[in-house]
Every structure is written in C-alpha cells, then in structure tokens.
C-alpha cells in the first residue's frame, strides 16, 4: 500500500516536472512548482520525515511560490521562444543522469534497517537523545543540540539572504500623500475573513514554535507561518498599513537580533566554561540546560526567519507598488 502511494506521488512529481520544461506560460510554471513542492512534502510524510514535510510545505510551496509570483508581476508572465539548440544541455543531463544511475547500483536497498546509514551515528540519536537531551522529537534534538552549529550557520544563511535582498531591492517608505490605493479595497469578504484568521495564524505560529520539542515544528516553520500572517495582512490591507504594524526598520533590527540571541547562548556557554553551544553548562542539571538552550535558540531562529521572510516580502511588494505607480 505504502509503495503504491509512493509510486503515485512520484509519478505525479515526474509529470509536473516534465510539464515545466515545455510550458511557456511562466505563471503556470510557478504554480506547477508550488504543486511540485506540495507533492514532495507528501512524499516526505510518507517517508516519515514530518518535520521536513512541514518545512517544505511552508517554505518551498509557501514563501518561494509567493516570491516567484511577486517576481512575475514585475517581469512579465510569458517566456519568449528561444531558438538556440537544447542538444548540449540534454547531453550534459544524460551524462550526469547516467553517472547517478551508475551510483545507485551500489546503494543500500531502500528502507532496509541494516543499511550503513542506520548503523553508525544515528543509533545514538535514536537511543540516547531522549535521555541526553530530554526531548521526544529527535529531529529537534539533533537539529538544535547535536548539530546546533549547523543550525546557527543556517540562521546566518537566512540573514545573509536578507542582506542580499535589502542591498538589491531596498525597502522604500514613500510619504503618505503619494501612496497609491493599495490593498484589496473591493474585496469586502476577504478583508473580514483575513481579520478573523490572522490571530489564529499567529497563535498557530506560536504553537509550532514552542511545541517543536514534542512534535513536528520549530523555529523555522514558526517564523515562516508568522511571516505568512503578516504577508496576508499586507496583501489585503496594503503595504502602508502593514508598515504601521511592523515597519521595515524594526525588522532590520529584529533579523540580526535573532542571530545574536542564538550566538549569545553559545557565548554564554563558553563563559560558563563549556565549549561553544554546549547547553549542558547552562544549568546545574545538564538535561535542564539542554532544554533552556534549545528553547532560546529556537526562539532566535524563529525571530530571524520571521523578520527575514517578512522583509523580503516587503522588498518585493514595494517594488511592485513602485512599478504600478510608474
């Protein structure tokens, strides 16, 4: 049964991906990518990776698609016919694909519990982490504690993306009088429903943030969901109003603050005589220390991801408004 579901999903993925090659309508291409992302989230669920599925659905299908649509609004939605031959790319792909298939021949069989992947490092995470770190969700334990430095790096990557987008697009606040009519004034129903939903979305984000220790979730997903709530607000009520709720200047402080919060846990543990990011030193009981550490760094991650995602959206949206005015 599981194999059947897998096969159907994979087949749908293949069809979606192939369709993207031949479509010239970029709007459809981007929507297909959203579908592709959702389908892969389903695959991740069926392969037991619930945290990854959650992230893929919120980040890949959510934020990426929104940003791509925002770009299309600025660049036009049809791809022009291109004449140059596609033989060379095809050859490159065939060679690369052949190499990969050759590589799969010695791969351990799918799903086998004796595979090397499950033998050397992973058993400790599965067997010891509930005792050493004290969290039922092993993904969170590994993410935030065993490989906490990776996660710091990842938060910095998000921060670096914000630097890139800010330097490229900037977020310009125009004075009130030249502000065009923005937001969806006509859509009365949408305005009411959005107002009703936004508190729940923020609540859900907080739930995901703090429940990540016990179930799927954590700072990344929470940050993205919280950002989505404000993106919804900005879409329905217009950017100037959204700027009054959370201004771009404030976000510009919030993004580095999250990274610093994360890093300060590491510095504090150095100060307490441990190594960088050694949460055991944060409290007299190591497991309690782990718990404090993970809560604080997840919060740092959530804050940075929220601030960065929202300011990236602001940057794209203010570009779109500007081009509307012109």
């Amino acid at each position: 049964m599981a194999v059947l579901i897998d096969l159907v999903l994979l087949a749908m993925l293949a069809i979606t991906a192939l369709r993207v090659i031949f479509l010239k309508d970029l709007f459809a291409v981007v929507m297909l990518f959203g579908i592709y992302s959702f389908l892969s989230a389903l695959i991740f669920v069926s392969l037991d990776a619930v945290d990854v599925a959650f992230t893929e659905a919120s980040v890949g299908a959510g934020i990426s698609t929104v940003l791509m649509l925002g770009t299309l609004a600025l660049t036009g939605r049809t791809e022009k016919e291109n004449k140059h031959s596609s033989l060379l790319p095809f050859l490159v792909v065939v060679v690369t694909g052949a190499a990969l298939v050759y590589g799969t021949l010695d791969m351990p069989p799918f799903g086998h519990p004796d595979n090397p992947v499950h033998e050397h490092v992973a058993p400790r995470y599965i067997e010891q982490s509930p005792k050493e770190v004290g969290l039922p969700n092993m993904v969170t334990s590994v993410l935030a504690s065993y490989r906490g430095f990776d996660t710091l790096g990842e938060t910095v990557v998000v921060f670096a993306a914000a630097i890139g987008v800010m330097s490229l697009l900037g977020i310009r606040r125009r004075s009130e009088d030249e502000t065009p009519e923005s937001g969806l004034k006509e859509h009365q129903v949408l305005r009411v429903v959005a107002k009703l939903l936004i508190p729940f979305v923020v609540l859900f984000a907080l739930y995901v943030q703090f429940h990540g220790d016990f179930g799927p979730g954590g700072g990344f997903q929470a940050g993205v969901i919280a950002a989505a709530a404000f993106i919804l607000y900005a879409l329905v009520y217009g950017l100037p109003l959204a700027f009054q709720v959370i201004g771009p200047k404030f976000l510009q402080l919030l993004a580095p603050f999250g990274v610093l919060l994360y890093a300060s846990v590491g510095l504090y543990s150095m100060f307490k005589g441990g190594l960088f990011l050694d949460y055991n030193t944060l409290a007299s009981d190591p497991v309690a220390g782990q718990h404090y550490g993970i809560i604080i760094i997840e919060l740092g991650v959530g804050i940075t991801v929220f601030a960065v995602m929202l300011s990236i959206f602001y940057a794209f949206a203010s570009q779109a408004e500007r081009s509307n005015v012109q």
Binding site: V20, D48, V59, G60, L74, E79, T96, P136
Partner: protein, 118 residues
C-alpha cells in the same frame, strides 16, 4: 523484481533531479531557471529523505509502543538545506527584478546581446 522494489525510488528521484537540472541549464528565461534550480534541489532532498527511511519505522518522535524509528539525521540535514535553498531563491529572484529594471528583459540571450553591444 526485488531489485526494482529496492531501487525504484532512487531511480525516479534521479529522473526528477535531471529534469530540474535540464531546466536550469536549458532555460533562457531567468525565472524559469530559478524554478528549475528549486526542482533540482527539492529532488536532491528526496534522495536524502529516501535513505533515511526504515521500512516499518515511524517518524522519529518518541511514542509509546514504537521501537523502530526512521533515521532523524537526514531530516535534520534537509531542514537545513531547504532553508538554504529558499535563501538562494530569494537572492536570485531579487537579482532578476533588478536585471529587468536595468535591461528591460529577463531573457538571457537578449541581455547578453545588449552587453556585447557596449
């Protein structure tokens, strides 16, 4: 037959990866290039998640009465990689917006012609 059952997942994932890779290197439109890049990366994520699966296991969250869990490490790596991917996408898309403003086009051959003309 068991050979196919053991490997079909890898092969389809390889096919998906190569579809994405083909879009990246063949597309002339920059937005499509970024879409291809995302498809390529998402498919690589599937390769990682595939290897973390244990048949009969469950999601790696401690639950009573469960003894077999899937491997959490690939999940952690891919969580990181997904976020890295969206960061790259955001920077790439804002470059596209700027290119459109500077050149008036997002088709690769057209702005290359303009660059050569200078």
């Amino acid at each position: 037959m068991s050979f196919i059952i053991d490997y079909y997942n890898y092969w389809i994932v390889v096919f998906l990866m190569m579809t994405g890779f083909y879009i990246v290197i063949s597309a002339n439109n920059l937005v499509k290039k970024i879409v291809g890049l995302n498809i390529f990366q998402t498919s690589v994520f599937m390769l990682y998640i595939t290897m973390g699966k244990v048949s009969g296991g469950t999601a790696p969250i401690v639950a009573e009465g469960v003894t077999l869990y899937s491997n959490p490490l690939p999940h952690v790596l891919i969580l990181t990689a997904i976020v890295v991917g969206v960061a790259t996408t955001a920077v790439g898309l804002s470059l596209i917006v700027r290119i459109k403003r500077a050149y008036g086009t997002v088709e690769e051959n057209e702005f290359q012609n303009e660059d050569d003309a200078i």
